[in-house]
Subunit: 502 residues, 4 copies
């Protein structure tokens, strides 16, 4: 969910090329991006865990599939690592609750009505404390939930335990095999006497599985909510091919999410990622940022503020002109490659930094990717015999030329912000709230509002997500007077902007 | 052309209410906004004129309509103040040419082909040196032009003279009566043996006149290009009513124009306007900015950079959240009104600053409007007997309360940036280039591409406008490789973004 | 009072060279700098005056020296233009009072004690509304005052009238001859039965006159307070030569004054000066700033914030390193001179921009001086036959090369901030307050605290000046607890920093 | 070396109070500050070490004092952990060399002359790769060196090994006992046939030891160079008491060091420290920064740039006014304590954040210290039974109130920048270069230039340090012409500013 909209739009345009990938999909590979994302946030969890001792001898090597566990109420409809970790998981969920006020507000407002009463949600996401807050919110809103992990490594076992203890049918643990992965998904949907009517997916694997194994299930399904770039691609692909048989909500491209994930989040994570990996001093450094979309804008603003001298490359003249007006020299990469101290890619494109450029960088130049996937830097071109790789830290490699020149490559060209910094809970909160509202919208939409297509969240709900996060900042919204609303031709409660407003 | 998109969108939504206005339209009142805009840029011209002496005894009080003038080639198909001023006008046009490289580039590229060959353009805009550069560009592209002024005060007489001398049929002078105004427009369209096939309008008066007097003319007209907020409203209104009989291009809402007119231009003009009127020191001042659209964003960024403490009010939660993330306290106006030194409105709304707030401002508080029209500050509420008005400078009034408190009102609540600062030629260049491209697009579009509706300029042409302005900044655009274009599914020449990308 | 400290320090070092100047001093030339400063602020006054009509038929061409005027109490010990203008002057003084809260606070605090009781102050400064507030404050503190103008053009006649009406012996009018100038000064000091014991000088002319004509007067004089760079030089010169016979207070170099006049004031005035003269758009412009002292720092910060790309030149490695860390490319002028749009000098040096550089600038390049005097740009080198000068506006010349290239020279190379923008009253308030405190300090200092030397204001009084200006910003200072003061080894009331702290 | 100058000045003023400390000095406690500083930079080293395996079985638990080791040339005049680690240490020194170009330049320039020929330097500092580059530079300049560690934990064993292998007499290892500590120092100075004539100290322990044990040694000692705040205090104390018997150079307060350590370094480390410990998102957060000296200025600038809303508290009206002009609300702590998300102390004072304030903070408020030592936050007041402490990460404690409110305390109130972020090598390079130049200056100064007092480095040498670091930024200094130098009264090679210029 972290690629920039530029990239995203491009890829919609070029959907043809992902077709092949789709048919040979493998869970281990598929969502490097979001997996890393949460692995990092897991680090945070781990930090907590390391000090509090909750391990016990039963935390052994037995596969969860071979264990018989029951929660304290005697319920055994789940498959997790160790139910005894539930208390520790509960504490982490409670801490996360404090940082996700929007979902908590949603719970409170929904105490009277249950907008998800009757909803049977099957979910496949990272299973973390933040997800747990989402699941328990859905439950408070009236939904029944069954859940699997969208990544074989990203499950927080103690959170899964707390969920199972709380009565959720969770099938997930850290370190699943590929077979485990699909087995867990299957256990979520293939149940006697229970059939899902809503899908919440992150990456499209759950959707894929139902398409493949239980296509009839779609008859009862009211809609799909999908978060990831990849999953959204797959949905557009299905839609184009006329095979999408229920409405789907593209949560990835909602305004709020885009602005926060890209501009604001990257403004901070570029500094954080560079510091944690290299301890570089920003003041006075010459930096080239490739791409001036939202991610590039965030990176440039942050580095300029820290005293770096920033150059920008762009292909789009409009973004290029923005870079000029924002005070950045617009150059071609070859014009500055010899002089810069740091190269950052944010294009969503491939082969932006190729071997030719790497050859001309100066000693000590740092190269990293904030854009999309791992395509922007041609890392493969560095795997040649004359170059020596030296791993100097986690996520930091020195690539050494025969003359001794070192290029500092971060995260092997994968996304720096996901590999080497953390995603603030505040951003996860926006995403989770958007997911919850998308489920509510699809579930309650009158017949005919949504067809078998991919939709963006209605502007008004986007605005609602935003409004739920304003109290965090003690921010006070102004209300239109009747007279003003009439003058503007607006409803006092919004939407205040057209759908395309960014 | 200077209102913010928020305002604009709102007003499209509330189009019904402008209906009444439309039927009682009067040229003197209609485009206060754009009129002022150019009046200010005229000041610049005037500064030049004052030093160069070009007046002669024939610059008398006789109405141009009563004069018989011919240019040096014996052509008399124009009506202007004084053809003898042509040389002075020519010098001003030449200076403007230096600052409008995009139009000059267009001329050069069009030397081979004449994309407007056969076009008969009737125009109604401010007649200034910048417009002259546009008109001569259209001519170089193959068009024939007839032109009137869209405002009774804004014509630069010596520029009109230079155009007439150059063979353009111009009907305009500074200080027209209302009758003169419509007479000039009529002279442009009501010609023996010449019928326009393109309309370039600023405010909608020309379009209105043809609708009213020569509706049959639309049979030959290929399209309308309209620049102003007001004119665009009228077009949407016609379209809604099913009365728009040719395609129209809404130039006002093109991305490039919006970003430049609003964000970047206002970022500078808020400082300029406040300094020229009040000499206020920004450092340490407390300021509240009402509205965080593009205009508000520009104002806030500039004032923050100058050391002011800025508060923001908003009605839209998404913009509100952006304000928070950008480091501004989001408040209701009444929370800070007693403590702020400066109040700036940028909402596009009406009655944002009402008497109640004005009563509570502290002594010396400065109030001004950067948003839309003159509705945001309830100036009428200050015209009461107990308050004394004191004009302390041009555009600056002290409104004095019985207890001696003074509120400093700028431009009587009209747009500060248009009244008290100048519009950079660079911004006018973007607009003029966009107009030229819109004419080319409509004139050359294959049958059926545009219907009887209002259109935005295609993204690709927007990008082209931007690209023509990059050389000003010595900015070097990167080109996609074939491989990259394929990967992104893009044409190497753009468009690079979807139409809705901002 | 507006040169940067770099310049100032340098000139102290090079005092020898001003010796010649000193002996041939002429009032018309001497303080171009401060004269302009106040001439500009006069414009503001003029704006007010133009609307309010106070002229009467007696405002004729008769020299004030030939008139017999008395104020309403029958006192005639003054010489001004027209006593009837007193009411208008009073209103302007009242407006200024509102913006000089520190002096007003001083008046209030001094109601009980009169720290200047017995002081006989002779002053020679610009005579403006702000000076009037200072003079009336000195009077409220117990002093008797006699006053002349330090510049032949800068007197606000109606303010002088208000002062005369209020009982002050003022000898000044706008448009004095050189003879008038010295006559006025002489009338201030050469009085029967009254001998000054304090001098407040701006430029050193008054001090010079007493040295030359009435050296014995120094026996009773307790000290000199001098504000200008020039006057301070002359004092250091006297001191070096062993000829300074009373203590003198160098007000020009107090921290507060330096920071405000240079860093904060120039941060705003560079933008203001450029806009008012050229309407240039800052976004995307390439600018080179010569010198990174306080003035240069202010200019660079402002332009960077407005989206310009800024290069810096420096001779001092420490300031150079600061420029690097603040995000500016440190270059030699010849490396960027061909590409920049704006050149700004802030060095305090001479011949920084010489003909060779001017020859290589690109068409339309703007050149201006923010540094010191009129030496930084070698304007004389442009007065050659092959170059054409064209005055396009007040303070703006186009210098045109044979090939048509135009360089835009502002204020003929004199200080842009003084010629083309205004000095905020807030800055004048700081200066006036510092002067008042310096007088109090010198007048009340116990025997022996100050010798026949030039002193800076004690840190504690500098801090006091600052504290008097905090209420303007509704700023709340924290007080040390007894325990903290003890821990830090500080007095709870300051001084909080050593004298050399900047 | 990381306290702010405010603190420092205050403490000089209050020297009396450290007297007690001085007599009961203990190595374990004394330099928490600098120890941590380097411990952190050690982490970096450790990261490298962890991947490269250099441990061998001889890296056992035997005390180095009990081992007999010789380097490859048979020299055994050292005492370190394990000489076999020399190769690994050499590699780290080589990496450090790349980032310390100023010292390398010094080596090169000194190839001809040996300004330290005959110098016998005894040093007591952290023993890290950076120190090794300094020592080898001193050696290249002609000095003989003997070295001990100034902290019992901070020695990088493999670096010590490389130095010993290179022929340096090093006495230091990681994990010394207190007895070891003094034994090592004694081994440096108490040598047959070798007597130091220069001291390089960090913390004052070495100086203290010589005073106590070998006072006669001072007869041959030409001077002391001291880096730390603490050590400088001790020297001023000695000087005041008339007991300083050689000149001493206070390296801590040189301009370059102060600006880099405080303003520029803290601008980055506040963000880094907060992110690494809490992953907090800065955008929209309300922050109060206590103290607006250099450190406070750096923190405020960084947080404002990241979109935080920053309040400032100050005791000094001048700094307070600067805060206002820089755009920060100046408040008392109690005015905002309930609403802020983050509290940062930068005062150099004690008990700035006391229990009363901690009680009123909101849930989740983060509290940290960037100022001085560990006195600013009254951490002791939180050690009460009703509050629960929970260690959630290294350096991060949750202090939990009975009602569940959590305050997030970082580094237990010690310096955040030293505990939780790293010190860039660039900053260490400036310090080391300054130390080298101070040694050269003291060693070569003609008789009488320095008396038995504490001195700051002459401005010119400060400028030289800066100039040696400019190439890092590819920065090009401008040289004065002869004419300009004459005009300014300056030497073309500097110094360019008076000593007190900051």
């Amino acid at each position: 969910h972290c690629a920039e909209s530029v990239a995203y739009q491009s890829q919609i345009a070029g959907l043809g090329k992902v077709q092949a990938l789709f048919t040979t999909w493998k869970p281990k590979e598929h969502c490097v991006c979001s997996a890393l994302c949460n692995l990092v946030s897991l680090d945070k969890g781990n930090a907590v865990k390391n000090t509090a001792s909750y391990t016990d001898s039963s935390d052994d090597e037995t596969s969860p599939r071979d264990k018989q566990q029951k929660n304290s109420k005697g319920n055994g409809d789940f498959c997790i690592k160790n139910i005894k970790q539930a208390d520790f998981g509960r504490r982490e969920i409670e801490i996360a609750e404090q940082e996700m006020p929007a979902l908590m507000a949603l719970r409170k407002r929904a105490q009277g009505e249950k907008p998800l009463a009757g909803a049977k949600v099957v979910g496949c996401t990272h299973i973390t404390a933040q997800t747990a807050v989402l699941m328990e919110t859905l439950s408070a809103l009236g939904a029944q939930c069954r859940w699997a992990a969208c990544n074989i490594y990203s499950t927080q076992n103690e959170v899964a335990a707390a969920l199972a203890e709380g009565g959720f049918s969770v099938f997930a643990w850290k370190g699943e095999s590929e077979d485990d992965f699909w087995w867990c998904i299957d256990r979520c949907v293939n149940v006697e006497g229970w059939q899902p009517n809503m899908i919440l997916d992150d990456g499209g694997d759950l959707t894929h599985w139902i398409y493949k194994k239980y296509p009839n299930m779609f008859k009862k399904i009211k809609g799909i909510v999908e978060e990831s770039v990849t999953g959204v691609h797959r949905l557009y692909q299905l839609s184009k091919a006329g095979k999408l048989c229920v409405p789907a909500m593209n949560v990835n491209d909602s305004v709020t999410k885009q602005k926060f994930d890209n501009l604001y989040c990257c403004r901070e994570s570029i500094l954080d990622g560079l510091k944690r990996t290299t301890d570089v001093m920003f003041g006075g450094k010459q930096v080239v940022v490739c791409g001036y979309g939202e991610v590039g804008k965030g990176c440039c603003a942050a580095l300029k503020a820290m005293g770096s001298i920033v150059y920008v490359t762009e292909i789009d003249p409009i973004c290029a002109l923005q870079a000029c007006m924002d005070g950045f020299r617009l150059v071609k990469l070859n014009e500055v490659i010899r002089q810069v101290d740091i190269v950052i890619t944010c294009t969503g494109n491939k082969n932006v930094v190729v071997r030719e450029y790497l050859d001309r960088m100066k000693n000590g130049c740092i190269v990293c990717n904030m854009g999309h996937s791992n395509t922007e830097i041609d890392v493969a071109s560095l795997r040649t015999p004359e170059l020596t790789w030296e791993r100097v830290r986690s996520q930091v490699d020195h690539v050494i030329w025969p003359d001794g020149k070192r290029v500092v490559l971060l995260a092997e060209g994968r996304l720096l912000n996901l590999s080497c910094s953390t995603v603030p809970t505040f951003v996860l909160s926006i995403t989770a709230t958007t997911q919850a509202l998308a489920l509510i919208e699809l579930y309650n939409a009158p017949e005919g509002r949504y067809k078998q297509d991919v939709y963006l969240l209605p502007k008004k709900m986007d605005e609602y997500v935003a409004s739920l996060h304003l109290p965090t900042f003690d921010a006070h919204l102004t209300e239109l007077t009747d007279e003003q609303a009439k003058y503007l031709g607006l409803n006092k409660n919004g939407p205040f902007k057209p759908n395309y407003y960014r």
